[in-house]
């Protein structure tokens, strides 16, 4: 993956597939530290699946026996001296508070740090593909914070769907302008 924002787009698909109704993507950036956390309230993973989830031969896909999403994300973190951790609570054991948290920590000053890239595109495409999910995005930087909460947008939009083309275009610009304003 050429950008971490592509990894985020990819990892969030797992949350969508897990049937999540709320997915939050939190980025935090400060001197020599960069973290990405994706939290969902999907079905979660059982302990034995979770134990092997970074193995490329563990996958939920049905067309091939390999899944590279998490291994690639782990590699991107570890090649900077960082790490990837995943915690999960499966719905069979935690009927009311299930879900998964994927956290990747990076050293952004490391020469093998992959740039974040076009995060605005990632967020808009996630919303475009799954407008019924409550998406929460925050990017905390030392000089401010960029954020988007689809529930706030829905409150304004009423019956107009989030994935209306014009709304999607607005969301992309809205995120980009927040970055310019920092």
């Amino acid at each position: 993956m050429k950008e971490l924002s592509l990894n985020i787009l990819d990892i969030a698909q797992n949350s969508i597939k897990a049937g999540a109704s709320v997915i939050s993507i939190e980025l935090e950036e400060r001197e020599k530290f960069f973290s990405i956390r994706i939290t969902d309230n999907g079905c979660g993973m059982k302990a034995d699946f979770l134990a092997n989830v970074t193995n490329p031969f563990t996958t939920t896909r049905t067309t091939r026996k390999v899944g590279l999403g998490i291994p690639l994300f782990k590699l991107a973190a570890e090649q900077t001296g960082g790490s990837l951790t995943i915690t999960s609570r499966h719905e069979s054991e935690h009927p009311t508070d299930h879900g998964t948290v994927v956290t990747a920590v990076f050293d952004p000053t490391h020469m093998d740090f992959t740039p974040l890239g076009d995060i605005a595109s990632t967020i808009t495409i996630l919303i475009q593909g799954s407008p019924d999910i409550h998406w929460i995005f925050t990017h905390k930087k030392e000089n401010g914070c960029v954020s988007l909460d689809t529930d706030e947008l829905k409150a304004v939009l009423g019956d107009v769907p989030l994935n209306t083309f014009e709304v999607i275009a607005w969301i992309g610009d809205y995120i980009k302008e927040q970055y310019f304003g920092l």
Partner: protein, 121 residues
């Protein structure tokens, strides 16, 4: 600066169109967005479809959706076009430029661009 007031304006505008938008989606554009597709460049392809359809005001006619891996990872980014009463068209190794061309010639013009389809590989 973008504001929520602007979003409210979009709402006002769209509400008048709700009747028009029913019966929409004569054409369905499906973009593969699994790890293989994303790594091969599916995100800018999908963005190009969304932006171009918005720009050309084709929203009433075309819907854009995403799917997982369809099993031909080596040909990603893959885009499938579904149209009522027509055979599915599978475009392979797509780029944002090709996406715009597909909208122009195929989705608007009605002519399949054979050289970008999977049958041409």
């Amino acid at each position: 600066m973008k504001s929520l007031a602007e979003l409210a304006a979009i709402r006002e505008k769209m509400q008048g169109k709700v009747v028009l938008r029913e019966g929409s989606g004569d054409i369905r554009v499906v973009v593969g967005m699994a790890t293989c597709g994303i790594a091969a460049g599916a995100r800018p392809v999908l963005s190009a479809f969304v932006e171009e359809i918005n720009k050309r005001v084709l929203a009433g006619k075309i819907t854009v959706t995403q799917t997982g891996c369809i099993g031909i990872c080596q040909f990603e980014p893959v885009v499938e076009i579904y149209e009522a009463d027509k055979e599915k068209v599978t475009y392979v190794k797509m780029t944002p430029e090709k996406a715009k061309e597909v909208i122009e010639k195929h989705l608007v013009g009605g002519k399949v661009i054979e050289e970008y389809t999977i049958s041409n590989i």
